[in-house]
């Protein structure tokens, strides 16, 4: 609460005082500062979580790293700012962070009335329900009258109301500020159900004292395209973030990985590969970046498939299948416009 009030006060002051001045370019600011301020969630396994040593990891964290690799050439030059659902937009609007990669659903209201722009989608998700086995429920349609724990300020809160309304069921929403409190209340039996983006449910489940006592119901009740967000009004920065994520997908399509990119850069004759590593074509010129911007992303972070596997996919404890997040050519909907 305190934190959010300060952030809001800061926003109010920024709005009040910047007297129609031209906003400095975010890229210039980041490069001058030498550090990217990146907004992430406070601790979700697979998405963004810090270990005991304070080292951040996750698919969202890798999103931050990719932007840092493209703009600063170094994935270590990042300050991670953990934000809960209610703080995130204010933090971005007020300039506390340069980009927000925090499991944020792309919606019309957010894109059109918060002064923000979505730069793409790094994970196609949908909302689900986590229930305890003891409840003896097999489908979300049996949840009429249930008490539901949710984190406030999320799309989950709204979808929940929609879903129960459409199915003519009543519910009791117990809304918390942080996902810690949400999970703890669920664990203590305050609620029958915990609802959130399905991918996060698998992560949250691993935090329960007895994960095997809870399971995720089959129903997916919404579309949650999660993606990076930037402030509206700096198109150059929007382009940079947008193409950073496109480059990771394109790299996967081309079969470029962090392991083979050096060899491919030296040997490959394929024009698409040569364009991506900056040997041909427009390279970094249009974005105002160095020519090896995309090379740096793949070399230091990896392609989209590597990032997915390592954090949430087969190579991780979450073991989520690619599903919608597979490349378009492999049955999913991950698709990047051509890098040319």
């Amino acid at each position: 609460m305190r934190k959010i009030t300060w952030a809001l006060a800061a926003t109010a002051m920024t709005f009040a005082i910047t007297v129609g001045s031209v906003q400095a370019s975010t890229l210039e600011e980041v490069q001058k500062r030498g550090v990217l301020n990146c907004g992430v969630s406070t601790g979700l396994p697979g998405f963004s979580i810090a270990d005991e040593k304070g080292v951040w990891a996750g698919i969202d964290v890798d999103g931050c790293k990719a932007v840092a690799a493209a703009t600063l050439g170094d994935v270590k030059k990042i300050k991670y700012v953990p934000l809960n659902a209610k703080e995130r937009f204010t933090a971005l609007q007020s300039g506390e962070v340069d980009v927000l990669v925090r499991g944020t659903t792309w919606t019309l209201t957010r894109d059109s009335s918060l002064g923000l722009n979505f730069a793409g989608v790094n994970y196609y998700d949908g909302q689900g329900f986590l229930v305890s086995k003891k409840l003896g429920v097999k489908s979300a349609l049996e949840l009429g009258g249930a008490a539901v724990c949710i984190q406030g300020g999320t799309t989950s809160e709204m979808n929940l109301a929609d879903y129960f309304k459409v199915n003519n069921m009543k519910y009791e929403a117990v809304v918390f500020d942080t996902h810690d409190a949400t999970l703890k209340a669920f664990e203590n039996g305050r609620c029958d159900v915990l609802t959130s983006d399905q991918s996060q449910l698998y992560g949250l489940r691993t935090h329960l004292p007895k994960p095997e006592d809870a399971f995720v119901l089959p129903e997916v009740i919404s579309k949650e395209p999660l993606g990076p967000v930037v402030r509206q009004g700096d198109d150059a920065w929007l382009n940079i973030v947008k193409w950073t994520f496109n480059a990771m997908i394109e790299a996967e399509e081309l079969g470029l990985t962090s392991a083979n990119i050096d060899k491919m850069k030296a040997d490959s004759k394929a024009p698409a590969v040569r364009r991506l590593v900056g040997l041909e074509g427009i390279a970094g010129k249009g974005l105002g970046l160095s020519n090896d911007w995309a090379y740096n992303i793949v070399k230091q972070v990896g392609n989209y498939g590597e990032v997915f596997d390592r954090n949430v996919g087969a190579g991780s404890p979450l073991n989520i299948s690619r599903g919608l997040n597979a490349l378009w050519s492999k049955g999913g909907i991950m698709y990047a416009p051509p890098l040319r």
Partner: protein, 390 residues
């Protein structure tokens, strides 16, 4: 024509001069706020952030756990404001009552001649005053939750009231036709009691005769309405909660979030009130107590007539700031899911609409108004106790 009147410019006149500077100051302050305001609007618009209060009539589309007025997700964001506001007022008002009771008890107990009682009170104050409130709120919440059974194993009191982890379920009174008479009798009885007590006091001052107010008041306030209640045919039935599906339906519910927040706020604030009460009582010169005892007054009379009226003058200003703190601290509700103004309006509504400036301004306005009201009432009361001085 005299020379002096010729040179009498307006700025030589102290009265005009001070008026001029006051007007100038007001104009500057107004100009400053106008500048900030128009600038903010301009900047918000330029950054593509919605402004204005139109969102208040938009459909809210989310559910709220506890609401003192009817509320569904089809209601507007404006109504979420009301629901949150009422929830804040509820927990604050209850908190003030409980904190005052516990605080006065503990404050007096600390001065008790009984070693054990005094020590217990001291330990209580020292523990709860020194632990951050947010931690206490979490502690009570999860302690309350851990202690309670699941809905299917609810504890029941005579199969009409139930307690489980989802809350306390009580039968709800359904008032029938004619219950209004009972309410009115009750109100009239209270007025009558006040009038009688004034009369009794005056009479005692004039003649020394005492009046047994207690019995009369009991008869008037409890007995009379009861009589009327049965006379109009006992127009009252109960809606008793019953287990249905996951939980109880019907009746009234007191959610555990309210209970936990209320305990935490009262217990924490009461420690400060206890200290205020203790310092207030200690501030009364012991000569006063001794003199009163020497006159042969009973111990309770000494407290009531001599010590407390004087102690109150020290206590009330501190009490005021503790009440203000309690109201403001109630916004920590959002940590444990109690749907107060900050959680519902400055939280969910703000997030769904993105209109931070308007919503935070309204929320601050509410806290400011509540605080000013409490200060106003307490100052009035303070002045009243001060005037009694002779």
């Amino acid at each position: 024509m005299s020379k002096s009147s010729k040179k009498q410019f307006w700025w030589n006149n102290a009265q005009y001069r001070s008026l001029f500077f006051q007007v100038l100051l007001v104009a500057m302050v107004a100009g400053f706020f106008w500048f900030i305001g128009s600038n903010t609007l301009h900047n918000l618009e330029k950054r593509g952030i919605s402004t204005g209060f139109a969102f208040l009539s938009q459909k809210s589309g989310f559910g709220i756990l506890q609401s003192l007025i009817p509320f569904t997700d089809a209601d507007s964001f404006g109504r979420t404001f009301l629901v949150g506001l009422l929830n804040t007022l509820l927990v604050s008002a209850l908190g003030i009552v409980f904190a005052t009771i516990i605080g006065f008890t503990m404050g007096v107990a600390r001065l008790s001649n009984n070693w054990l009682i005094a020590k217990i009170a001291t330990v209580y104050v020292e523990i709860f005053r020194n632990i951050p409130l947010l931690l206490q709120i979490f502690f009570w919440y999860f302690a309350v939750l851990r202690a309670l059974p699941s809905p299917r194993q609810s504890w029941s009191a005579g199969e009409v009231a139930f307690v489980n982890i989802r809350g306390l379920y009580l039968p709800q009174p359904l008032l029938g036709d004619g219950f209004g008479f009972v309410t009115w009798t009750f109100v009239l009885a209270i007025v009558a009691t006040v009038v009688i007590s004034r009369w009794a006091k005056k009479r005692q001052e004039q003649t020394g005769q005492q009046f047994k107010l207690g019995r009369t008041a009991f008869g008037l306030i409890v007995g009379l309405p009861l009589l009327v209640f049965f006379a109009v045919g006992a127009p009252l039935s109960w809606d008793i909660p019953a287990l249905q599906g996951f939980n109880f339906r019907g009746g009234m519910t007191i959610i555990p979030e309210l209970t936990a927040l209320l305990i935490a706020l009262s217990v924490y604030t009461a420690t400060f009130i206890a200290e205020a009460v203790r310092s207030g009582i200690l501030a009364v010169n012991s000569g006063q107590t001794e003199a009163a005892s020497a006159l042969g007054l009973h111990r309770t009379k000494v407290l009531k007539l001599v010590v407390i009226p004087q102690a109150l003058r020290v206590i009330i200003p501190q009490l005021t700031s503790q009440y203000l703190n309690l109201v403001k601290n109630s916004s920590l509700a959002t940590a444990i899911g109690y749907p107060d103004l900050v959680a519902v309006f400055a939280g969910t509504t703000l997030n769904q609409t993105g209109q931070a400036i308007e919503i935070i301004a309204m929320t601050m306005g509410v806290y400011l108004t509540i605080s000013l009201l409490i200060s106003g009432i307490m100052n009035w009361y303070n002045n009243k106790t001060m005037l009694v001085e002779r």
